[in-house]
C-alpha cells in the first residue's frame, strides 16, 4: 500500500484544513472512496435520508453561521437530487460547496451506471464548478471552491470528482490555501452623490435586501437608521436586519408586504436600496414601483445595478463601508416619518379573528415572542412562510431562514436540521405546512438518529393553501389539485420516526402548546389544524402595482373545519 494519500484522503484533509466541522451527505457507489476516507476523520457527517435534505441542510447551516456549508452525494441520482438545493442556494446567494462523486474517468461519456453530466446540468445554477481530472489538484480546487463560494456575492460551487481520481494515490499532502478576498471599497464620489440626494429628499426610505445580512452590515444599517431617522422597509430576505419591533421599521414590502411598507414605497421620493435586487415579488408591477422616487442602489454585485430599475446613484462595493460612510446632513423629514408611523399604526395587523379555530398569524406571533431573541425560524414555502414573514418577531438577522428566490417547498425541515446543528443554543423552529412537510418528511429520521432537538410547527390546512388562495381569488374558485385531505396522521408519523408529537385544534390550546413545545428536550412536532379557507392578507394581485393591495375580510367565522 502506498504511503501517499489518495485523492479522497486529500478531500477530507483539505476540508478539515479549511475549517469544516460539519457536513451533510449520503453515500453511494462513485463517492465510496471519499466516504472510506471520511470514516474516523473527525469530521461530523450528518447522514440525511435524501440528498435534497443534505443540500438544504448545508444551505441553512451556511445562512445561520455565515460560513460555507458543505454537502456530498454520489453520482447520477445522488447528484441530481442535490439540484433543487443548489438552485436554492444560487437564487438566495448562499455559500455552499457541493462535492459529488462521478463515475470513473474511463466510463465517463459511455452512459455508465449512475453516470450523469452533473457539471453540465448545474452550469446555470452554480457560481462555479469543476470536474477534477488530477487528484493532485484537489487541495487547490477545494480551497478555491470555498473562496469563490464565500467571496463577493456568495453562491454554490460544485466539485465533481470521478471515482478513480478519488481512489488514486498522489504525492501531495498539504492543503492549499487561497488568498483572502477583500471586498472592494465603495467609490467616495458615489457616496457623496448619495448623500446629496438624501439631503435633497423629503420622503426618503431605506429598502433593505438580503445583501445586508450577507455583507454582515446589519449593525451599520441600524446605526444609519439611528443617525438619520430614515424609515425602512425590507424584502423577505432582509427581515431581521432591523428588529421587527423597531419604531422606524415598516415591515416587508411587496406582494404580501404590509400596507404601511407599500404605501411608503409608493410615496417615497428617494429609495435607498441596500443589497436588494428589485425582485418581482417585492416590486409588483415594475413600472409602477416607487413611481416618484429617485434611486440610490448599493450592492456588491455590479450586475444588479440598473438590471431592473435605473439607479440615479450606484454604489458598488462593500456594503459595510458604504453604509457606514453615508453621513448626510439630514433635511427635515419629521412630517414624512410621522405619516409612515401613522400608516403603520392604522394598518397594523390585528389578531382578533372571529371564531374559535386556531388563527395561524396569532400563533406564529406568540411563538416568536415566547422564543425571544434566540428564535430562529426555518420556514417552508407557502402561506405559512408569508405568515412568518408578516407576524413573527425577529431581533437579529440570520434568524429568518427561508427559501426566497427559489421558493422551494421542502426546505423547512432539512433547513431546521442544519440550523439547529449550527446554533444549538437557539430556539430553532421549523415552520411548515402539510404540503411542504411531505416533501422532505424523511428527515425526521435524521432528527431521531442524532437526537437533534429541533421543534416543528406544522400548520395543516389539508391543502396547498397558497395555490388554493390564488385559485379562489384569480381563477374563479376553480380548485384544481389542491386537496390534501388524505394526508397521513402526522402525529403518528412523527412518533413512528421517534419524535414526540402532539396536536391542537382550538385556539384556547395555543399558548399551552407553544410552551410545551419550546420546553421539550428532544425533537418535537406540534401539529396545528387550521381552517383551509384561511388566506394570507394583504395581497398585491399578480401584475398589479403595490398600491393595489387586497385586504382581509372577516365576514364569517373561520372555525368550521
Amino acid at each position: 500500500m502506498s504511503n501517499q494519500p489518495t485523492g479522497a484522503q486529500l478531500v477530507i484533509s483539505t476540508l478539515k484544513a479549511l475549517g469544516v466541522e460539519t457536513l451533510f451527505g449520503y453515500p453511494g457507489g462513485a463517492i465510496m472512496p471519499i466516504y472510506d476516507a471520511l470514516a474516523g476523520s473527525g469530521l461530523k457527517h450528518i447522514l440525511v435520508r435524501h440528498e435534497q435534505g443534505a443540500a438544504f441542510a448545508a444551505d441553512a447551516y451556511a445562512r445561520a453561521t455565515g460560513s460555507v456549508g458543505v454537502c456530498m452525494a454520489t453520482s447520477g441520482p445522488g447528484a441530481t437530487n442535490l439540484i433543487t438545493g443548489i438552485a436554492n442556494a444560487y437564487m438566495d446567494s448562499v455559500p455552499v460547496v457541493c462535492i459529488t462523486g462521478q463515475v470513473a474517468t474511463h466510463l465517463m461519456g459511455t452512459d455508465g451506471f449512475q453516470e450523469v453530466d452533473i457539471l453540465g446540468i448545474c452550469l446555470p445554477i452554480v457560481k462555479h464548478s469543476w470536474l477534477v481530472r488530477d487528484p493532485a489538484d484537489i487541495p487547490a480546487i477545494l480551497a478555491e471552491a470555498f473562496a469563490i463560494a464565500a467571496e463577493g456575492r456568495p453562491g454554490p460551487v460544485l466539485v465533481d470528482i470521478p471515482k478513480d481520481v478519488a481512489a488514486a494515490h498522489v504525492a501531495v499532502s498539504s492543503a492549499a490555501s487561497f488568498p483572502e478576498w477583500t471586498p472592494p471599497a465603495p467609490d467616495a464620489g458615489a457616496i457623496k452623490a448619495a448623500e446629496k440626494l438624501i439631503e435633497q429628499a423629503k420622503h426618503p426610505l431605506l429598502y433593505i435586501g438580503g445583501g445586508v445580512e450577507i455583507g454582515d452590515a446589519s449593525k451599520e444599517v441600524r446605526d444609519l437608521v439611528a443617525r438619520t431617522g430614515i424609515p425602512a422597509v425590507s424584502t423577505l430576505k432582509g427581515i431581521g436586519t432591523l428588529p421587527t419591533t423597531a419604531d422606524l421599521y415598516l415591515g416587508m414590502l411587496g406582494m404580501h408586504g404590509t400596507r404601511a411598507a407599500n404605501i411608503a414605497v409608493q410615496d417615497a421620493d428617494l429609495l435607498i436600496a441596500l443589497g436588494a435586487r428589485f425582485d418581482d415579488r417585492a416590486t409588483g408591477k415594475l413600472n409602477a414601483f416607487a413611481p416618484n422616487a429617485k434611486i440610490i442602489h448599493a450592492d456588491i454585485d455590479p450586475a444588479e445595478i440598473n438590471k431592473l430599475r435605473k439607479a440615479d446613484v450606484a454604489i458598488v462595493g462593500d456594503l459595510k463601508k458604504t453604509i457606514a460612510g453615508l453621513n448626510p446632513k439630514m433635511p427635515a423629514i419629521q412630517k414624512w416619518v410621522e405619516k409612515c408611523k401613522a400608516d403603520k399604526w392604522e394598518h397594523r395587523f390585528k389578531y382578533n379573528a372571529p371564531g374559535k379555530g386556531i388563527y395561524a398569524p396569532g400563533l406564529l406571533k406568540s411563538l416568536s415572542e415566547k422564543a425571544g431573541d434566540k428564535f430562529i425560524a426555518a420556514c417552508d414555502v407557502g402561506q405559512h412562510q408569508m405568515w412568518v414573514a408578516q407576524h413573527c418577531e425577529f431581533a437579529h438577522n440570520r434568524a429568518h431562514l427561508t427559501s426566497g428566490g427559489s421558493g422551494a417547498m421542502g426546505y423547512g425541515l432539512p433547513a431546521g436540521v442544519g440550523a439547529k446543528l449550527a446554533k444549538p443554543d437557539h430556539h430553532v423552529v421549523t415552520i411548515s405546512g402539510d404540503g411542504s412537510f411531505m416533501m422532505n418528511i424523511q428527515e425526521m429520521a435524521t432528527l431521531n438518529r442524532y437526537n437533534i432537538p429541533l421543534k416543528i410547527v406544522l400548520l395543516d390546512n389539508s391543502s396547498l393553501g397558497l395555490v388554493r388562495q390564488w385559485q379562489e381569488l384569480f381563477y374563479q374558485e376553480n380548485y384544481s389539485e389542491i386537496d390534501l385531505s388524505d394526508n397521513p396522521d402526522f402525529v403518528e408519523v412523527a412518533k413512528a420516526f421517534g419524535l414526540s408529537a402532539f396536536r391542537i385544534t382550538h385556539r384556547h390550546e395555543v399558548e399551552g402548546a407553544l410552551d410545551k413545545l419550546l420546553a421539550a428536550e428532544g425533537p418535537t412536532l406540534l401539529h396545528v389544524l387550521i381552517d383551509p379557507r384561511e388566506n394570507v392578507w394583504p395581497l398585491v394581485p399578480p401584475g398589479a402595482s403595490n398600491a393595489e393591495m387586497m385586504e382581509e375580510r372577516w365576514d364569517e367565522p373561520l372555525d368550521s373545519y
Binding site: L119, G120, L123, P124, K127, H128, S129, L131, P302, A303
Partner: protein
C-alpha cells in the same frame, strides 16, 4: 440590433457551455460564434448576439459575463482584427 462580444476563456471543462448558456439564458440569441486559440491555456470566443426583446441590456449582459470565473470580456478582438462597431449590421460581422 446585433452586437459583437469578444471573450477570453480559460481552457477549462465547461467554460464554453457556461458562457453560451449564460448569454441565451439572459435573453439573447446567439447569431454567430467563432472560437480560436489564444495560447497559454486560453481560448478566444467572439459572439454575435441579439437581444430577444427591448428589455434586455447588453451592458447588464456584460456585467453578468464578468461574474463568471475563468471567463473575461475583452475590449477588442484579441486577434488584432478591427472590431466592427456595435451598430454595424450583422452581415458585416465576421462571425
Amino acid at each position: 440590433m446585433s452586437h459583437l462580444i469578444h471573450i477570453e476563456l480559460d481552457r477549462l471543462e465547461g467554460s464554453l457551455l457556461r458562457i453560451l448558456g449564460l448569454v441565451e439564458r439572459r435573453g439573447f440569441n446567439i447569431d454567430g460564434a467563432e472560437l480560436y486559440d489564444l495560447g497559454e491555456d486560453k481560448r478566444g470566443l467572439s459572439l454575435t448576439v441579439r437581444p430577444r426583446d427591448l428589455s434586455r441590456s447588453l451592458d447588464i449582459l456584460g456585467l453578468q459575463i464578468d461574474r463568471l470565473y475563468g471567463i473575461k470580456r475583452l475590449a477588442s478582438d484579441p486577434r488584432g482584427q478591427a472590431a466592427p462597431s456595435p451598430t454595424e449590421p450583422k452581415a458585416k460581422i465576421n462571425a
